[in-house]
């Protein structure tokens, strides 16, 4: 089992220079500590126009800063949006390869397509095409990395023969991942031989069949890259404290803060009915439904890592048994926790929890 950090760069109002800089600087300080403590990866989202929830519009720049401030920790796009109105696939190939050189071969390349009207509407993107454009991007980007010169005539993207530069450091290229939120996307990841970056923060038990089906299906994959990345990473939360009740209380506060920010956005499925967005994305899936019969407060998901070290060892053991290879943690929400508390939580986790899982990683992916 490997452990990483996951950044939305959520930012409190008002959006002053001080507040915005503090979020970025605190996050980088956390990644430097994570590198020293033996965490394996840092992931950064790409989002646009998501007020408070995520001011991470340039993950490549954040990850470049992290890469230069750290030595070993891997740097992951979590994810790069594969929508023509936002990015050409050429630009993704260039940015990821450039970061791979800058980081001495530490890039993980996650892909996705956005699930909010804020973003797709803001860029005037063709909502109905995002699944297909994502698929096309996944197929051409690895070739841009591995072929000296590349040309392509496709449905949503075409280019004459060019040498896409630079080429990545990792041979043959950085591992490929897919953001998995809507049910069924794990199949899309498996079919293409890509890692599943599961972002639906939920119970361990609910993810067991999902991971099992992914494992079975990827055995028959037709990889879009030069190798199969059959890893499963689960986005999660972390707050570790000697007092279990205190840790869980702080965890509830983080979830509530995150929920407030997530609920503010407009999910595609709520605004633009489309066959390729029939399920809520991560943000929408976090919304408790007060219309549910009984109107009872939902218990926290069973797999969240809020607690004292002993309870986290138990929780993570269940994730490990479920087949997860990585847990990647959000450690902050809109700077709700003091930075010192976040850092101390990470130190305690590294000191008393991580040793229980050292040496138990599945060796699966080339380049990972």
């Amino acid at each position: 089992m490997k452990f990483g950090l996951f950044y939305e760069l959520s930012t409190p109002r008002p959006f002053t220079t001080e507040n915005q800089r503090a979020v970025i600087e605190n996050a980088i300080e956390q990644t430097v500590l994570a590198d020293e403590l033996g965490f394996s990866s840092v992931w950064c989202v790409e989002h646009h126009f998501l007020e408070e929830y995520s001011h991470s519009s340039c993950p490549d720049m954040f990850l470049a800063a992290v890469a230069r401030a750290t030595k070993n920790i891997r740097v992951g796009f979590g994810i790069g949006t594969c929508v023509p109105a936002m990015h050409s696939p050429i630009r993704w190939a260039e940015k990821a390869a450039f970061l791979d050189l800058l980081s001495n071969g530490r890039v993980e390349f996650g892909t996705g397509r956005s699930s909010t009207w804020n973003e797709l509407g803001g860029f005037n993107a063709v909502v109905d095409d995002t699944k297909r454009t994502w698929d096309e991007y996944c197929r051409v980007i690895p070739k841009m990395w591995t072929e000296e010169r590349f040309s392509y005539e496709g449905t949503y993207f075409s280019m004459p023969e060019r040498c896409v530069l630079p080429k990545p450091m990792q041979d043959p290229h950085p591992p490929l991942w897919v953001a998995v939120t809507a049910p069924g996307t794990e199949f899309d990841a498996a079919d293409r031989g890509m890692g599943a970056l599961i972002l639906s923060i939920a119970d361990v038990e609910r993810n067991v069949p999902r991971i099992q089906e992914y494992r079975e299906r990827i055995k028959r994959c037709e990889p879009v890259g030069a190798f199969v990345n059959d890893q499963v990473a689960i986005a999660n939360w972390l707050y570790c404290h000697p007092d279990d009740a205190h840790a869980k209380q702080r965890g509830e506060e983080l979830i509530a803060t995150f929920g407030y920010m997530a609920g503010q956005t407009v999910e595609v499925s709520e605004a633009y009915p489309a066959n390729n967005y029939s399920a809520l994305g991560l943000l929408g899936s976090l919304r408790p439904d007060p219309n549910a019969p009984g109107d009872a407060k939902k218990p926290p998901a069973s797999g969240l890592c809020f607690g004292d070290p002993a309870s986290l060892v138990d929780t993570i053991s269940r994730w490990q048994a479920a087949g997860a290879d990585h847990l990647i943690f959000m450690v902050q929400a809109r700077e709700h926790l003091p930075q010192a508390d976040v850092l101390e939580s990470m130190r305690l986790f590294a000191r008393e929890v991580m040793p229980h899982f050292s040496g138990s990683s599945r060796k699966v992916a080339v380049g990972a």
Binding site: R13, N19, Y260, V266, A271, P273
Partner: protein, 255 residues
Amino acid sequence: MSGQAELLYGSRAAAEVALAATPFDATANDTVVVADAEILYVLYEMPMARALERLPVSLHPSVPALLGFTFVRAAGGPLGPFTAAWHGIACRTGIKPRHLVQGAFCDSERVSEFLAARYGFACRAAAVTLRETFDRVRGAVTLDGDTLIDLAITDSLPLVGAGALIKYSPPLNATTLGDAPTLVQFEAGYDFKRVLRGRPRLACFDASALGDAGLAPTTPIAGSHAVVDLHLMPARFQVDLVTPAEAGGARKIAR
């Protein structure tokens, strides 16, 4: 920087929120099913500042701010034939999206009374139409010969499989429960039989005639036309007008 965060609330004083004249009746406990009802649902963006001015402190806006239009038509059934329409600003309390109704219309006195007592709608009597033609589905509201709202969806495509449904944000109506002002949530279930999605076309939105010159739809998002069995359930949730959204949220109506 940790501590109390600045949040995005509506700013309208509770006393400035117009309440429906007909008090909400919390005693209704049956479900009325209207078979083969048609629903035209269209979303536009609107300026955030104008949304914030119209939402009470108990509601957050959506980001971006949205203005939603709903037309409902029944050719017959337990309530008789009717066409009703309402428009509202997307909002949330807790984190579920809803629409705070800014205006409602109905061509049936019986249904107006039903909607008022059941859900707090303050429907104005008007000629309300919802028609599907070869190239569009059009909804219109006409009052004393003047068109107030005239919109349509065109270039429609069928939605199929798991996507053949619409996630309607439930309307909230400002009304009174007992003697207290409150927001009552429309409660309905939908069995979808056919769903189309189309491109919104707004031919007329006479904000001044609607009584709020500042209400302004801007960027069209999408519209849908659905044929459903509409289950009109008893209202279950109310929202405070004054408790800040983070401390309030929807709560069950006491019966």
